[in-house]
Point group: C2
Chain length 413, copies 2
């Protein structure tokens, strides 16, 4: 089977979608359930209908194009991603996976193939977390709770306004859950958003799993005092603990936790005057690890280090745990299908974890989930400068198509 | 001459002043030209008048009590400090020096002494810089410029409102300048606001000079990027430069610049999200040195260090110079008078620089200026917890009185 997607149709649709919410600098501004995002989704359903595909809109606002198997009771193989963007983001993140999924369905339809699974190209709601984070994919897999909706990332007001714009009821978000028995698997094509594939000149990344993420707010407590009259050796300066933690946490992760990352993305000294020694230094800590044991290990090591640093400078440390996102290993079956698809196209490939979150992490505990990465120029993402060569996009779409067919072969009914 | 101030009268006035703008926790809230500050100054002039002293209010709102010499053309020896406070400050900072100056004049008057100088107890306007900073002392010494009034520390609106409350015209601030030939010297009693006298159990600090202060805004520029997908070794993380600078600047000053201090009182990472590597790290740098050559040396060393640290982490450094406050050495004549006064009272004393700014620094280039420090409990200041033992305050007032008489002896006409 030497099926390939239609490059012209794929490119024309990718470019058309990039015009919706275009920011004029190569990027798009399509936050979840914004007018631009709603327009993009209407366009997607219209393109699906034009191709003779069935369309579906669920109560969590997930938009789908469906190619039915001749077997009415067939399970559904989901292919998807998202059309929402971060504010002033790039035109590849999410959109590429949705258009490639649509194109895969059209290609199979054009070839007149009868598959053992229904194929569903799905555009999940709010992957980027403008309102809730992985809203649509969590909704269909039962990963969304009443709780999460009470204190959404973007605030209650933004969620209510978004739901109103989309004509959605909050109850519908929880009602969108599907039966896992009805789902045969999930495949997602996405740009890497990092530099590894580009740097190693490999065409396809076979994602082994999506890293787990933990975040904490740490605060070192010293004593605010006059920065002129207090001798250096008499100070209890909170800035020292925070600064030493930033440096030693990085060193520790690079030395002992290969494959993990740590970031201190916010820092504030209080009271915050030129002439007052910081009595308080607050910092935002986030770290990621590819699997649960490493994530737990890393947490213990970083919090232990924070304590050691505090003692060194005679500062009290307070630790506030924030979000946890558990690691999501990709299924071996899906990884094998992606690898075989890349091999069938003579494309170089490598196994690698995803450092970023994706809808696939919602699907991983629910069904056989797999992800395909293609190279991101300079590793840039969430920026209008986000770019992937069209050849790389084509490679990704063809691997998605063929991996879907491999999933059918491997688990046909 | 065994003159001593009247302890009861001094204490009673000190306590009465502490009631004006009292915050109920031992502190006072008398920002410059606030209603509480204006009330404190009216009270001061009333107390001076009750003591039979001449009173004077200049066009910069400096409030004075004057004891005339029998020689009409005598020069004036100024004794003073300020009655304004930082917001929610302590009751000793400034107020002690004003009441001690008033008490010194009353003591000389009561003793019926004829001095070769007029004595003037002066309450300078806005030492703390709520509006302009050393406003009154700069006004009389010509250290105030039209420029400085255009962009005052507290903003134009606050200055205009304060001047209106006090019934002052902006032009009057510049017109308050006095003829240096008319001034015989300046002495100021103040709490140390640091822990050195308390820690060494010494009664009197003979201030050698007021440190110079320089401040800069530094910024390290890296590259904001995804904190999950960007490998640790591929990052250009601005937080690393800022953190390393905080630690190495402190080490350098403690090792190589004894008597100097450095502070990083503000820090901000941008864009400032848990999951974004800081592309920009801004910090507020302030350092102080006792004399001009050391201040220049220290500046060169710290800015050089900031560059080295930037290169080490492959970050660009930008440097924005802000305020400079030149070091103000105290006069040898005034220091000798203070030392002799302490000796005459059998009080232990030590020479030490002032790490904080004071009105005496405006006077230093203008006349023979000297400062007397007394111990501050725990070195705390600018806080309701600011405290000095009453015995220490009495020691200070008596040293002020006798140092004033020594100035008369040393330079009588």
């Amino acid at each position: 089977m030497a099926l390939l997607v239609n490059s012209d149709r794929f490119k024309s649709d990718f470019d058309a979608l990039a015009q919706i919410g275009a920011t004029g600098d190569g990027g798009v501004n399509r936050p979840a359930l914004s007018e631009a995002h709603l327009a993009a989704r209407r366009w997607f359903l219209a393109r699906a209908a034009e191709a003779g595909l069935e369309t579906r809109l669920d109560s969590a606002s997930n938009h789908s194009a469906i190619l039915r198997s001749p077997h009415p009771e067939a399970r559904t193989l989901l292919l998807g991603s998202h059309t929402d963007s971060v504010p002033n983001g790039g035109r590849f993140d999410g959109a590429l996976g949705v258009i490639a999924a649509l194109e895969a369905l059209r290609t199979v339809k054009d070839a007149g193939m009868a598959l053992p699974f229904h194929l569903e190209a799905i555009d999940f709601t709010d992957e980027e977390g403008t309102l809730v984070g992985l809203l649509g994919s969590r909704a269909i897999t039962g990963g969304l709770s009443q709780e999460a909706l009470k204190s959404p990332r973007g605030g209650r007001a933004a969620l209510a306004a978004g739901l109103a714009r989309a004509g959605l009821a909050e109850a519908g978000l929880l009602a969108a859950r599907r039966d896992p028995q009805s789902i045969a698997g999930y495949l997602e094509l996405h740009i890497e958003q990092g530099p590894r594939l580009v740097q190693s000149a490999v065409a396809i990344g076979v994602v082994t799993g999506i890293v787990g993420i933990r975040s904490f707010r740490l605060a070192y407590h010293g004593k605010a005092n006059h920065a002129g009259t207090t001798p250096m050796e008499a100070r209890s300066d909170a800035s020292l603990g925070a600064s030493a933690f930033v440096l030693t946490a990085r060193e520790m992760v690079m030395r002992d936790y290969s494959g993990c990352v740590v970031n201190v993305g916010q820092m504030a000294f209080k009271p915050g005057a030129f002439n007052i020694i910081p009595g308080l230094a607050e910092l935002a800590l986030e770290f990621r690890a590819p699997d649960a044991p490493q994530l737990a290990d890393l947490e213990k090591a970083l919090l232990g280090l924070a304590q050691v640093v505090g003692r060194q400078y005679r500062l009290k440390l307070s630790v506030e745990p924030l979000d946890t996102c558990v690691p999501a290993p990709m299924s071996a079956r899906a990884q094998a299908a992606i690898t075989a698809a890349a091999d069938s196209l003579a494309l170089t490939h490598t196994a690698l974890p995803s450092g970023a979150g994706h809808d696939a992490q919602s699907l991983a505990p629910f069904t056989d989930a797999g992800m395909i990465f293609i190279p991101s120029q300079d590793g840039v993402s969430h920026s209008p400068r986000e770019f992937s060569e069209w050849e790389a996009c084509m490679n990704g779409a063809n691997v998605l198509l063929r991996a879907a067919l491999k999933m059918c072969e491997a688990d046909g009914r």
